[in-house]
Symmetry: C2
Subunit: 390 residues, 2 copies
């Protein structure tokens, strides 16, 4: 690092990459400077050179990694490419912040995680929803024991509305070969991460029901209901869709000591005066119920989103600050996503740890039959306006 500044490069200046470019150029991230970008599209490179004459512009990730112009890279290429590029960046001695999802299937993400472990470089993932004060507070309530042992998690996250026009905007979109999935791999990675991160628990087994091309002409899933069981006996449901309108975003977590609901930007906390277990053991009344307090609880601040993640990652590189979203944890949400696909394909239960080889074999069948052929694809000409997503 020169003068206590992290020199960043962005790999892939498409939709998300352009967002990071603007954030870094805004000067809001203390200790961060954007020095270089790379993109496979010549048209996009020309535009970048014209608009940002001070930036180094490369035509490949490798050229950027080997250039010596950056200390850290943000990988914002198509999902399938994240792991290989991260591994190459680590080998070039760079810090890596990878966009979500960590990858498309487990073995490639395990390779990436092993490469991260073998270096002293920082490894982060852009799970900016971990900066959201609502989910941070829920996690804190669980960790501090305020909710008691977790008993149930229900997430209805059906407000990922995407029209056919969205799906038609790129030939790679919503294809097995291009994206490796639909709503689970593209829209839901944040929620799939938060679902396990807030409660600190992965499922022990799952039965999922994906529907492919529901109300849309696409080959991948865009309507999913999944039922999970946890090692402690708790159960959970995750429901998502891109064709419900208006959708819902409501997370309910019930514990031995109460319940939290996050919906419409609010967190509501109902807390039992004693645990349900204690009440049940001593109660003699036929219709007795534990005394329940409705708690008004401070949830301060707004979600700093991508800027928050970039600042945290920069602070980690410069000052060894703890990462809010360590890259190695990207495998967790991805595993849940892979499990939802596999359970549907097998029409059966899947157990955790997931049979990653079986998932990958099944995925490869879908890739082989995919209507998207990567070798024929043109790189998308210009990034989309992503103001409607996060």
């Amino acid at each position: 690092m020169v003068n206590n500044v992290v020199r960043y490069g962005i790999v892939g200046v498409g939709n998300m990459g352009t967002g990071h470019l603007h954030t870094l150029l805004s000067g809001k991230i203390t200790g961060a400077q954007l020095h270089a970008v790379c993109d496979v599209s010549e048209a996009r490179r020309e535009t970048l050179k014209k608009e940002h004459p001070d930036l180094h512009v490369y035509d490949s990730a490798s050229s950027l990694f080997q250039s010596g112009t950056v200390d850290a890279v943000i990988i914002a290429t198509p999902h399938y490419d994240h792991p290989d590029e991260a591994i190459e960046a680590f080998q070039a001695g760079l810090h890596v912040l990878v966009e979500k999802p960590a990858g498309v299937y487990i073995s490639q993400v395990e390779r990436m995680n092993r490469a991260a472990e073998a270096t002293d470089r920082k490894f982060g993932i852009v799970y900016n929803q971990r900066m959201n004060p609502l989910y941070k507070k829920l996690k804190e309530l669980v960790e501090s024991g305020e909710l008691g042992e977790i008993r149930r998690t229900n997430w209805i996250i059906t407000n990922w509305y995407r029209s056919q026009a969205y799906y038609d905007s790129g030939t790679w979109r919503a294809t097995w070969a291009g994206e490796g999935g639909g709503v689970l791999i593209n829209q839901c990675p944040h929620q799939l991460d938060l679902w396990q991160w807030t409660i600190g628990m992965m499922p022990s087994r799952m039965r999922a029901f994906c529907q492919f091309g529901k109300h849309r002409d696409i080959e991948v899933e865009n309507d999913v209901t999944a039922y999970v069981e946890y090692p402690n006996g708790a159960t959970g449901v995750f429901i998502t869709s891109t064709s419900d309108a208006p959708g819902t975003n409501r997370l309910e977590v019930c514990g031995d000591r109460g319940k939290v609901v996050i919906e419409d930007g609010n967190l509501t906390f109902w807390r039992l005066r004693e645990t349900e277990t204690e009440f049940n053991a001593r109660n003699k009344q036929l219709f007795g119920q534990p005394e329940c307090w409705t708690i008004s609880i401070p949830v301060d601040g707004t979600n700093p989103e991508h800027a928050g993640i970039l600042q945290n990652f920069t602070d980690a590189v410069l000052h060894d600050a703890p990462l809010v979203a360590p890259g190695e944890e990207g495998i967790r949400g991805l595993t849940i996503s892979n499990a939802m696909h596999l359970s549907t394909w097998l029409d059966d239960w899947v157990e955790f740890p997931l049979n990653a080889a079986l998932h990958e074999a099944e995925l490869r069948k879908r890739i082989a039959g995919s209507k998207f052929k990567p070798e024929k694809a043109d790189a998308q000409a210009q990034p989309a306006d992503l103001s409607g997503t996060y």
Copy 2:
């Protein structure tokens, strides 16, 4: 009928029967008079004779049916007995209002329905939640097309809290031999009925996950998650529990033209300006979303509950008023309940119409292994205070 009055008899003056007794004696039901009761418990009969000297008190349903003292009976005995008693009452020329559930398994309820069909007597079921203005309004919105084609139904109904003290209050409670099930057969019949009644659609197949004796020392299910698919491609989830505290009661129904949520005694209606299908067909914007209006909609009145059902049934007998809850429809919610058991027992999908014989065979295995032995049971001495339930 004498003087345009329906003379009622109550079969089984336990928990629910006592409620009906008080309602009928209150004089609030126009055209209804309570004339007789019967109960197998001698202690209870003595109490009834002392407290209500004007009532005929019988020691068996048959004696009551044959007495000539009543025109109609309310059957409020244990679940298993409902169908046989209803059949005998029809054969005695009586009108029958049966408590929920209609019975415990399908073949016995089919026999009851055939007996009802073979008479000109009225047949009703105590689905008093069909009188609830919230669910009536939802049904009306669906029937009038305001919601469009149904796409999703999610019901989280986990506020059926029951402590161990409740389960310990009767040896028959929460046993396969005594009740034939747990939360599905005892607490949820209203919701299982409303789930299909409001949308006018039964599932086409189901995958359910019952947990037996969850946080309670009982042999039947008290924690259930069920996933259903409907003939039109819609999906749904039903989640219930007796050990969550505080529980949730939130029904969400999404259609091609909007969404309704019923929670906390309120109905919220979001209506799309055009159907999602129409919007999706014409939209060209990458992140375009259909215009959605939040609708404030009048939902008038309170739920007249049991009094409402009793008045409606009386009006049906006297004036041929249409029944809000025809007895024949009791089989629908019961079929959904049976399906949840069977899918869990088989650990597999179940299709509708349900394989009733397979369900019954599986149920009989559980009855054979049940810790409750009906022949050894004492009739419960006194009815419980049911003010905490409905």
